[in-house]
Structures are given as C-alpha cells and as structure tokens.
C-alpha cells in the first residue's frame, strides 16, 4: 500500500483541505477544482465530507489546523504548505495516524506523506531561462523578476535558472527584484528599473502575475516591449496577444488540487500511488496561446487559465 496508509479506513472518507490562504484567486480556483472533484467522488460513494480550513497565510495557524484535523480523525489531508519546513512534524504525526496526506504546490521537506504532487520548480526556472537564451540568441541584458524572498518556490525557480545563465555568459543579468506575485508591486518595481536602465533586452519573470506588471510598466512608459516569460495569468496572456509580445508561459495547474484529492482517495482505497507525482509543466507559446485565450471567459479576469484535465490524465499521472 501507499505510504501512511494502514488499510483500516473505509469509504466514504472525510477529506480535510488545509489551505494556507483562501483569498488569492489562484487559491480560489484551486479550491474550485478540489470541490468539483469531491462532488465527483461523493457521487461514487467514496467521499462523504470535505473540511476546509484557511490559515490566513499563517504557517503557525496551519499547523494548528492540521493538528485539529488529526484530532478530528479525518481520513485524508490535502495540503499546500505555508512553509516548506514548518509543517514537517505535524504532517508526519498525521502520517503516523494512518491518515493519507497528499501535499501539492508548496511542498514540505518530510517524506512521511502519502504523496507529493508538483511541477518541478527547478525545471520551471531552467526552461524559462532557456527560452530567454533562445529569444536573445544568447546575448543581451535581462532583468529577473522573482517572487517574495524567503519562500522556497521562488528560490527554487531562481536556482533552476542559474545553470542556464552560467552556461550563457553572453546573457547579462542587469538586476533582480523580489516582489509579491502580484501586478501592482511588480509594475511599480519594473517602472523604477526602466528609468534606471535604458537598455533592457528581456524580462525573465518567474511566476504569478509578475509578467503582467512588467508588460504594463513597459507599456505605460512607452518603452518597446521585450521578450517576457511568465505564467498562465489571464491578464498576462491577454496582454501578450494585445501587445504582440514575444512571450512564453508555463503554469502551476490549479487542478493539482483535484489531483491531490483523487490521489488521496485512490491511496485509501488501497491503490499504490507514487511517493512523488511529477506533473509535467504545460507550456504556453505562440502556437498554443490562442487555445487558452479562447477559454478565457471561463476564468476570472485576475485568475489563471489552466489546461484541461480529466480522470484519464490523473490515472496516467498516477501510473508513472
């Protein structure tokens, strides 16, 4: 059987979804996929209840929530970690209790979980950097936009880019910034950088809505757009098309949430699931962007247009 599973839990299961912060749109969308999946599983008689908590961005509160879930003896816990290390101990406690723990997006360090599900953040950075090298022919001045400092996701993506940058010394990193994964601060920072740097050949932006902010800063200052990497934020994709940008985006699919619930239930049902489920990074480029924008209306304006998913995809991922 899968990790943590002891085989003494019977369907229908109670699933706990220990969210770190439910307010951002990405989280809302993710929660949407989880709820939808739970509805499906309820129909199949596999799940009876979904308990949702919101730690309001406080890792300490999240620990408290997971502890409560253990106390309430839920059958499965699905979690995005508020800190890559902080939850280790409480999560291993849950695992010891035979609770199926599936961790996605922001991962914990401990291996005492049923499964971890994520795209590869290092690869994220490396692929984006490679695309930038290709765009600029290996030569030029670029600015790197990072997510907040001290967070492992943003750190991993940046780390992934480094070997590529090292291998291409023609690519000069003029400067880097760290901001929240949001439009306004990114736009603000990029505007200041635009004034300070008359020559910029590319913007290597590593996630969230940073790219949208960057594009808007170029636009508002009347500067010519440069090749910009990014994520599947609807606003960025629309700007990309509108401004005729050289763009590239990957994504952290929201359906990782749905997949996590599915995985937890599969494991509880006695199926073997891999300890680490690596979800390939879907790439959006000029050839695929139209497909995404065609579905834009189904997504919130400040949301993320994620790729399609179905049970077949999940099964395939679980079979790796």
């Amino acid at each position: 059987a899968a990790n943590c599973i002891k085989g003494d839990r019977k369907a229908p299961y109670t699933v706990g979804w220990a969210n770190i912060y439910s307010v951002p749109t990405w989280m809302k969308q993710t929660e949407g996929t989880i709820s939808a999946e739970v509805e499906e599983l309820k129909k199949a008689g596999l799940v009876k209840d979904l308990m949702i908590t919101d730690a309001q961005g406080n890792a300490q509160t999240q620990i408290q929530h997971i502890q409560s879930m253990i106390d309430a003896n839920v059958d499965a816990i699905v979690v995005i970690a508020g800190s890559s290390n902080a939850l280790d101990r409480v999560i291993s406690d849950a695992c010891d209790k035979g609770i199926a723990v599936v961790n996605f997006d922001s991962l914990v360090n401990t291996d005492k979980v049923t499964a971890k599900i994520n795209t590869d953040s290092n690869e994220w950075g490396a692929t984006a950097a490679k695309w930038m090298v290709d765009q600029l022919g290996g030569k030029g001045k670029i600015i790197i936009m990072n997510g907040p400092a001290g967070i492992s996701v943003s750190d991993d993506r940046r780390k992934g880019a480094q070997p590529v940058l090292d291998a291409n010394p023609g690519l000069e990193v003029i400067t880097e910034t760290n901001t929240e994964y949001n439009v306004a601060p990114a736009q603000e920072a990029m505007t200041s950088l635009l004034f300070a740097n008359p020559e910029i050949d590319g913007v290597l932006s590593l996630g969230g809505a940073l790219s949208a902010g960057s594009v808007m800063a170029f636009d508002r200052q009347g500067r010519e757009q440069v090749p910009t990497s990014g994520e599947n934020a609807r606003q960025f994709l629309e700007l990309w098309k509108e401004k005729g940008l050289k763009g590239w985006a990957t994504m952290q699919p929201n359906w990782l949430g749905a997949l996590s619930v599915y995985t937890a239930v599969q494991a509880l049902e006695g199926k073997d699931v891999p300890a680490f489920i690596k979800v390939p990074l879907p790439v959006i480029d000029d050839s695929t962007i139209d497909g995404y924008l065609a579905r834009a209306a189904d997504f919130p304006a400040d949301g993320y247009i994620y790729s399609d998913y179905d049970k077949a995809l999940f099964d395939k991922l679980l079979a790796q």
Partner: protein, 321 residues
C-alpha cells in the same frame, strides 16, 4: 472592604483587584475552552493538551512581548521579524560547534541586544517607537534572509521532541515565564514599567529611572519574541526566515483584546495572555464546528469585537465617564 487591607496580604489583594475588570474576558475564554472540550474531549488527555498548548505557546509569548511594551507606553512592529530571526538563528547555530546550549544563548543574546538598541534609540533619541520598530522590522528581516535565504537549517530531533512532543513542556515553560514576569513585576524596575507608561513625568519625579526602564522593557520584549522564534524552530524542526510575519498584528490584537491600552500603563499581562488564548482556541473551536472559510473570517471578526464590546456594554451602566 478594609478587611482586605488589614489582612496583611496586600500583594494578593492587589492581584485580585486587578482581575475584576477582566471578568468578562475570563468568561468568554472559559466558554470557548468548555465548548472546545465538549467538541473535542481529547483535549483533556495529556497528548491533546500538550498539542493544543504548543500551538498557543508562541502566540502567548509574542503577546507578552507586545503587552510589555504597550504597558510601558510603546508598541513594536518588529515582533514578527524577531520571531523569524530567533528561529533562523536557532536553526543555523544548533548544527554547528555551538550546539543547543550555544544556540539558545545566541538567540537570547541577539534578542536582548536588538531590544536594548531599539530601546536606547527610542528613549534617548526620542523617536516614536512605532516607526523605529517599523524600520527595525525591515532590518531584522534582512538579517534573517541573509542568514538563511530559504527555509531550512537544523534543529536536533531531541530538542523538538522535548519542547514540542507529547508532553506539556511548552505549557510548563509558559507557567515559568509567567512566574518570572510576576517576579519581575514585584521588583521596583518592573513596576516602573507601569508607572513610566502611565505617567512618565510623575514617575520620573518619583525617582523611577524612566529611560532605563524603557530600554529594559524593549530588551525583555525582544527577548521574549526571539525565544518564541526559538520555540517555533523547535516545533517545526527548522528555521524559516519569514515564518514570524503574521505574529506582529496578532500580538497587538491579542494584547488589545486582553484589555491592554495604547497609551501605556493600562491593562494587565494576564489579560493579554487571555486575549492570546482566545485567539488561539477560537481557531480550533471554529474548526470543530465545521465552519467554512467564509464563516471563519466572519465569526473571527464577530468574536473579537464581541469579546471587547459585550463586557464593555455590560459595564456601561456602572461607568461614570
């Protein structure tokens, strides 16, 4: 009435009187604790109690840290970063030759030193505490990020298990710290914190070294926050340079909830600790009541306002002015 003072147990009488204005809060907190025990009887077991108090412990410490300064007429916005720094220092030193004792000393020393410097700036340069500590919060965050750019570091397992295992060590520590605070308050310097907070000129004229008291208050406050960071590191088994951030606002909320005033000299530490307990137990109770996130936010707002407003409204009839 006068029986109280003729009994000779002045200290006890003063303490009892300080409880009076907190009756409403005590009731609210007790109601929540009972509700929690009904919803989750496991809290009454050693393990359940230990886990619950562990989760409350760091908030209790930072609330004490904040209340200490507010009683002295100050405030600090650097609580969160100090917690992070405490955790980072613990996680980066304990794996080195310093070992656990060295790590604990390092955390304590850095906490005291940062607090003393901040206090000296506030007291001697007469700058407003709120903005000095805001600036300080950036500096401290920066240092934490340099020491440990991403979560990690090392805390020996035995320390984690000792402090945050299935035994109520954290609770006992809290008891010890509260006793230490009581002892401190029973020193002239400790009472000076109240006096200098309420009426600095009067306290100065009475011979209280107002500036020195302020520096001590800042130093102790920072020490508590850094120790909270140490505990968080032990509880989570690692350091995280940004884990403390939410503690800043929460510490203020808990202290004010517990009746500590903004202008200094008003309120009690026991009230502040109760405020932090309410914030903490509320999270668990809402979970066991099965509140969805929306309801959690709304209930949290209502409980906080209610816990202050209801006792206040009840007392309104008695209030003179």
């Amino acid at each position: 009435m006068s029986a109280v003072s003729s009994s000779g147990w002045l200290y006890g009488a003063i303490q009892r009187r300080r409880n009076r204005s907190l009756g409403g809060l005590y009731l609210v907190v007790a109601a929540f604790l009972i509700l929690y025990a009904v919803l989750f009887p496991g809290i009454l077991s050693v393990g359940g109690f230990s886990k619950f108090t562990q989760n409350w412990f760091p908030l209790a410490l930072v609330t004490m840290a904040q209340a200490l300064l507010m009683l002295n007429g100050g405030i600090t916005l650097a609580i969160g970063p100090l917690v992070s720094l405490g955790a980072v220092i613990a996680a980066t030193t304990m794996g080195t030759a310093l070992g656990v004792p060295g790590g604990i000393l390092a955390v304590a020393f850095v906490g005291l030193a940062i607090g003393a410097v901040t206090g000296a700036i506030v007291a001697h340069l007469r700058l407003p505490a709120i903005i000095v500590t805001l600036a300080g919060s950036f500096i401290i965050t920066g240092v934490a990020l340099i020491l440990l750019p991403r979560p990690g570091g090392f805390i020996p397992d035995w320390l984690s298990i000792t402090l945050a295992g299935h035994t109520p060590v954290a609770f006992l520590l809290l008891v010890v710290i509260v006793l230490a605070w009581k002892a401190f308050l029973a020193t002239p310097l400790g009472l000076g914190i109240y006096a200098a907070g309420d009426n600095p000129i009067g306290a100065f004229r009475s011979g209280v070294p107002v500036e020195q008291v302020k520096i001590v208050a800042f130093a102790l406050s920072s020490l508590l926050a850094a120790l909270a960071g140490l505990f968080v590191a032990a509880q989570t088994g690692s350091g995280d340079p940004v884990i403390g951030t939410p503690f800043t606002l929460n510490s203020i909320a808990a202290a004010v909830l517990g009746g500590v005033g903004f202008l200094g000299g008003k309120g009690t530490m026991r009230g502040a600790i109760c405020g932090s307990l309410l914030l903490s137990v509320m999270i668990n109770v809402m979970f066991f009541l099965g509140f969805p996130p929306v309801a959690q936010y709304i209930a949290q707002g209502l409980i906080i306002v209610g816990a202050v407003a209801v006792p206040e409204l009840l007392a309104k009839g008695r209030a003179r002015r």
